[in-house]
């Protein structure tokens, strides 16, 4: 079956991303502090890439922002709201999160994966939710796969369904947690293209990635983290061409 998109998706559809501001964010698992005093500002409609070694607190940072894990101290502001004072469910509706391992619902079709939260959270009718979900799937180039289940989709297609699912909630910020790390090498580019396209159309994005090429080309700001702290932050030029800290220089010499 084919779906036609009711919303213009190519050039006409722009997002209105909100700003995101972290101040002194500290997070802990039990007694162990895994994020220490992180401050970060993401201007509306810009993309910030977070790079750094595994275990440096990148994923924890994303989980703190949408409070899948409650921060220990510090503040998070989403647009003009104190994110830590909002109800978690309300906050999460406004921030999309894409996971490394997709986390699609295996017994739902691609369309139902996108439509489920539209019905349950946004209270849309079945028909309305299906219409919006079809449009979102079309937007990520998967209109023809709407009735496939996740196991019948490739990793790249699954991840694009996951992006469509997050976008369907009309988030003000999109967060990506190593969204391409689990993909076939040939399928990485397609997903990165899609992400770059979102960035270009005004979405505010916070992207944890190991794709240095993406960070360099798409990011407005690159943040290098290690041991739970922000070691260095700046424009891609500053970070990749003129790194200041020895730790970042060492990191870049290993990965580039």
């Amino acid at each position: 079956m084919t779906y036609t998109s009711p919303v213009p998706v190519t050039d006409g559809h722009f997002y209105e991303g909100s700003s995101l501001e972290l101040q002194g964010l500290t997070m802990a698992y039990g007694d162990i502090e895994v994020l220490k005093d992180v401050s970060l500002t993401v201007a509306p409609g810009t993309t910030t890439c977070i790079i750094g070694p595994s275990g440096s607190g990148k994923s924890t940072l994303l989980r703190g922002v949408n409070r899948l894990h409650e921060p220990k101290s510090g503040s998070v502001r989403l647009a003009d709201d104190d994110a830590l004072a909002l109800k978690p469910d309300v906050l999460r509706r406004r921030i999309g999160l894409v996971f490394q391992h997709f986390n699609l619902f295996p017994d739902h079709t691609a369309l139902d994966n996108v439509a489920l939260a539209l019905r349950n959270v946004k209270g849309m009718s079945k028909k309305e939710a299906a219409r919006v979900a079809a449009a979102r799937l079309d937007e990520v180039g998967l209109a023809e796969r709407a009735d496939h289940r996740p196991r019948d989709l490739s990793g790249g297609q699954q991840q694009r369904v996951a992006i469509a699912r997050a976008l369907a909630m009309d988030p003000e910020v999109m967060m990506f947690d190593e969204a391409t790390s689990a993909l076939d090498p040939e399928l990485v580019k397609g997903v990165l293209n899609l992400m770059a396209n979102l960035a270009q159309r005004g979405m505010t994005m916070l992207v944890v990635t190991h794709e240095m090429g993406f960070a360099r080309k798409v990011a407005d700001q690159v943040v290098f983290m290690d041991e739970g702290r922000v070691v260095e932050a700046g424009t891609p030029d500053q970070i990749f061409d003129h790194p200041e800290s020895p730790r970042l220089r060492r990191f870049l010499s290993e990965v580039l």
Partner: protein, 264 residues
């Protein structure tokens, strides 16, 4: 061949078997199935409640669920049935009349729910954490996430174990006779037993046993079939294909402009 004759007479006396057959079919089988199915349905509902309580973050839900499970799994079925069946007889009389039948069902349900609670809990906890997180990240409540996504996946995984539990209940339903059933309420075992006492011959009990096997054996094989299918999946092998197919398709389908050329 005296001994062979003896065995046949004792266990496989065709006349005695044939005589009890209508009663086994019309009374015994019906009651066994009614008791077992009721106990299973109530056991599933209670068991799900126990399972959800058992994985709660709140200790005051978790601990009672644990204690409940330990008690009803730890006691012999016959003891639970007698305690419930006789202990609540007066209470039951006001609700259901003099028959101990409902209390027998209740006792079996309590036992079943303890086992089913553990089965459901294991199934729900085997669902990847990412499923719940994906729901929560979309703004769904814990309850919605469990109801719509996590629990259905967990239940599907333990369907074979649930069928096994039903088989156990069918067998345990024979213990209800201890409570003293009316003639029309007798289940398979009691019907067979009564006939055996009456005729001084074990053949009616053997016949009752065959009835149990007719229920349980096909179910056992159904479980194995399910189990196999879940383990190997329904997927057929597919020939190898080129990863480029999808890259090509993506490039054609994509309504998004290629803004980001290369990832190196």
């Amino acid at each position: 061949m005296d001994w062979l004759d003896n065995i046949i007479k004792t266990f496989f006396d065709f006349d005695a078997m044939w005589q009890v057959f209508p009663q086994l079919l019309g009374v015994g089988l019906v009651n066994t199935l009614v008791i077992s199915i009721w106990a299973t349905v109530i056991g599933i509902v209670l068991g799900m409640v126990i399972a959800i309580m058992g994985i709660s973050k709140t200790r005051w839900l978790r601990i009672p669920a644990r204690v409940y499970t330990d008690i009803f799994r730890g006691l012999p079925a016959i003891l639970t049935i007698l305690l419930i069946g006789q202990g609540f007889a007066r209470f039951s009389q006001q609700l259901f009349g003099p028959s101990p039948y409902p209390l027998g069902i209740l006792a079996l349900s309590l036992i079943a729910s303890a086992y089913m609670g553990e089965i459901f809990r294991a199934g729900i906890q085997s669902v990847e954490r990412g499923q719940l997180e994906a729901c929560r990240a979309l703004g769904m409540s814990y309850g919605s996430a469990m109801r719509l996504v996590v629990v259905p996946q967990g239940v599907r995984r333990v369907l074979p174990a649930l069928v096994n539990q039903f088989i156990a209940i069918v067998k345990d339903s024979s213990l209800v006779y201890f409570l003293g059933l009316l003639v029309s309420e007798r289940e398979l075992f009691r019907v067979g037993q009564d006939a055996a006492v009456l005729t001084g011959n074990l053949s009616p009990l053997v016949m009752a046993g065959l009835f149990y096997l007719v229920i349980t054996v096909p179910l056992t094989h159904l479980v194995n079939y399910f189990d196999n299918r879940f383990r190997t999946g329904r997927r057929k092998a597919t020939p190898p294909k080129s990863g480029l197919d999808e890259v090509e398709e993506q490039n054609q389908n994509s309504t998004t402009a290629m803004t980001y050329g290369s990832n190196t």
